[in-house]
Symmetry: C2
Subunit: 510 residues, 2 copies
């Protein structure tokens, strides 16, 4: 199994069927293959050789899609760049991986002069945008039209497919090395759960540099389907694309789902053909799930939990369990391809119900971190990826997240898992989204601090919030301070950036 | 991914749920794991070490199921013996693989004295039957109760999982070496097509030594389901088990499907819970499919084509294509995990519609033939398994079988593909099943000879058959001679043994 395999299969079975839709631009499978093989030829002409790294710094598009096949077709390794990163961070990853070729679209072309200074090894910059071509770059379309196609290198198996940088939620960027086999283990296990529509149509609204979207891309390609791209997530653009193109499958994070279903224009659009919504990053709150079920009434919801290092799926919560008030707060159970357990610091499995570290084993565990043997050895011990996530498993194998092990709040000597507090807060009728972080406190060491984004037109005081939480959680877990903000800071993958909140609120008085 | 992985997962998620039903005997997942880990301990005590071969010669049962996990649990390699084989053939395989431990049930225990003579290296024989224990054997149940459990060796990945002997339809037995990864590639690709019911129940009616049944076993285990066993295929036993135990998934071959649906007692049984029938070995005739659809009205049919060397699935014909009069005669299209093409003798892909050899690539291609490097090199060239099957591919990637390349009839210089003739013959209203073979002919070199099994109460003459075929196929393809027999000889896997027919009818006058 390998990244270009599905393309061959789609061309064999339906050469004239739609492969991609990007704005007004439509390509068939045969056209995609033609473009991919010429792009690969162009890269070869530009000096790319087996195992070389090729970076992409772009918003979502069909050209991004073509590159994800063209790079392995040319026997190379793809480095999809986090579009939220600073030039400094991007340069760090390009320098560390000795990347000499980068594709860049209109949105990021302005960064190139700075980037070239910081990454002097960059030998060629290819402009994959639709706007005017910036000076000193090569044109994506010219390369395609003027390069001869080359045969697929059939790069596969345990060979490196891509380097996917992750900052985690803390610390320095690490390049996660994933093989073709890694990515397919996760994709096939997911597909075995029926989470992908055969010959369906996936909307790429989440950023394509992120592995969650790549997984949905590979899964749909595997089942002979087609792809629709919008440059970046936007609730109306998402609704319009779903309606116009008959989208069947979408990967979103709960915050995106919330923005889509709560949008005032939502009723204008036909969402009835959406068969599967895959979501990740966190479970959905009860009230959000209820509203999502109403808006997407013919849709199966499936939650996938994982991380880049797991290619990315470790556990799955399939649709039926969303009806259970307890289980729907879980991450689901080990996916078919995945072994999952909860262990103590010595790696010994803890009894069910006891919090420990979630560890995962299987063909989807990354090859390692690029150039970081010590970090790799720390993360993968005896074949088990140590996720750094705290959680527990119930008697039926459902995994419940406690918190990032490092993110646990220790208040007055008690461990407080912020997720539990957050789950309580979001059940307040005024709350759209929230995050709970530790802030330093003279008396308690750390204090439970709530940061809340309200539903438009609502208000909330600390006293009201505390009254609400008191009904549901122990006293020491109740927020001692509250900040209401207009918009929670999000990563490109839709995770709330607690790190930023911790910095912002570190001096909040009790 | 590995054979014991699903057992761990099932115990993690549903320890008290049903794992197996065999007659009156029911085991939960937790009980199965307990028995497997003790059986593995027993094997270890009997001297089994990493990579050693352990044979099973038995009809279908829960104990067979337990052994398929216990052998890899003990870090060993399973050798499931073809139950139709002669002692001489069995001994050949045991000797070639230096197998020292064999499990045998009541049906095959009588062969053991002869087998021990022919395979003097056999050090221990374990009786897995329910009848009285034959002298000189160890008891399966005693070993379980008296042996301590050992931890799973977690044998996995590219390591050898089993040696599956195949005679093909011609020639000497060859031991097909399959890795854990091989078997899971095929299983996951199949499951991705939705061919396995999540938490369903599989009936094992086809012989468990055969890879087709193993694939359905691994697939159902992967999705957390349970297993029902009948000792061997029998239409009434199959019907009764389906009804009594609420079977959702079955793997059968068309000849078995025919015997089930045409059985006079069939209307007595409730077949409505059967969601998936996977069938293999050959496409279904139009009339058989029609009757099968009537009998199993809530069932999806999926055809899988492959061979032991492909672990075993290469192409799939999913349910929807059974409605198409042309496509339902095909083998379907490359399964998600599989690359398939049709090539000339130089390995160059031929144009669509042109007959050539079907070749297959992917993680499901066997490691090789045991101790047969030359045969392995001949079969796997540039990573492509050469199936020996002739066929062609249409514009949508559907593969149509022509015939075994060696089995093609050359009559008067014309190539006749027996499948084409057979497809015509079975459409005659008197015909239940048929086979077409070449018999030597003075005038034509080879002659098209039809061997027919009639629907009870019907009759057929050569002239009637020729009149029927004349409407459908070219004159040189029409059978020149006919034999009506009461029962076509079948392999344990349900393939018609054309080799035997060729010998039986070699002197048939024109």
């Amino acid at each position: 199994m390998y990244l270009t395999q599905s393309l061959h299969r789609s061309v064999q079975q339906a050469p004239e069927s739609v492969s991609t839709i990007c704005g007004d631009r439509i390509f068939t499978h045969a056209q995609t293959l033609e473009r991919v093989s010429r792009l690969a030829g162009a890269m070869r002409n530009l000096g790319v050789r087996g195992g070389d790294r090729v970076a992409i710094l772009a918003l979502n598009s069909d050209r991004y899609f073509q590159l994800l096949s063209a790079v392995p077709w040319a026997d190379a390794v793809v480095v999809p760049v986090n579009i939220r990163w600073s030039v400094k961070e991007i340069a760090y990853s390009l320098n560390e991986t000795d990347t000499r070729l980068i594709f860049v679209d209109d949105a990021f072309a302005p960064l190139i002069p700075q980037l070239k200074e910081a990454s002097p090894q960059l030998a060629a910059v290819i402009h994959s945008g639709d706007g005017p071509m910036p000076e000193g770059m090569l044109s994506f379309e010219t390369l395609i039209s003027e390069s001869d196609p080359i045969p697929d290198a059939h790069r596969r198996g345990d060979s490196l497919a891509g380097i996917f940088y992750t900052g985690g939620t803390t610390g320095f960027p690490k390049g996660v090395m994933l093989s073709h086999r890694n990515i397919f283990a996760s994709t096939l296990g997911n597909a075995a759960l029926g989470a992908v529509t055969s010959q369906g149509r996936t909307l790429h609204a989440a950023p394509m540099f992120h592995l969650a979207d790549l997984a949905s891309l590979v899964g749909m390609s595997l089942l002979g389907g087609s792809h629709v791209f919008i440059p970046m997530f936007d609730p109306v653009a998402t609704l319009a694309a779903v309606d116009t193109h008959g989208v069947t499958d979408i990967m979103l994070v709960p915050t995106m789902i919330q923005m889509v279903i709560d949008h005032p224009r939502r009723p204008e659009f036909d969402l009835s053909r959406v068969a599967n919504i895959m979501y990740g990053a966190s479970p959905m709150s009860e009230s959000l799930l209820g509203r999502a079920r109403d808006a997407f009434s013919s849709t199966k919801f499936i939650q996938a939990y994982g991380m880049t290092e797991l290619s990315p799926v470790a556990t799955s919560l399939v649709d039926e369990f969303h009806e259970d008030p307890i289980l729907r707060r879980s991450l689901g159970r080990a996916a078919p391809h995945s072994l999952v357990k909860v262990v103590d610091p010595d790696g010994i499995e803890v009894p069910r119900g006891t919090v420990g570290e979630i560890v995962v084993s299987g063909d989807h565990v990354m090859l390692g971190y690029w150039n970081k043997p010590a970090e790799t050895a720390a993360a993968i011990r005896d074949g088990w990826m140590h996720t750094g996530d705290g959680g527990y498993m119930n008697d039926q194998g459902f995994v419940f997240i406690a918190d990032r092990i490092k993110d646990m709040i220790i208040s007055g000597g008690e461990n407080v898992y912020s997720i539990e507090v957050e789950n309580s807060i979001v059940r307040h009728s005024s709350v759209a989204m929230c995050a709970v972080v530790a802030v330093p406190d003279e008396k308690w060491g750390e204090r439970v601090h709530a940061v809340v984004q309200l539903i438009p037109g609502q208000s909330l005081t600390l006293a009201e919030l505390q009254d609400h939480c008191k009904e549901e959680i122990a006293g020491y877990k109740i927020p001692r301070s509250l900040a209401v903000i207009s918009e929670l800071p999000m990563s490109a993958a839709g995770k709330i950036l607690k790190r930023e909140l911790r910095v912002q609120f570190q001096n909040t008085p009790a």
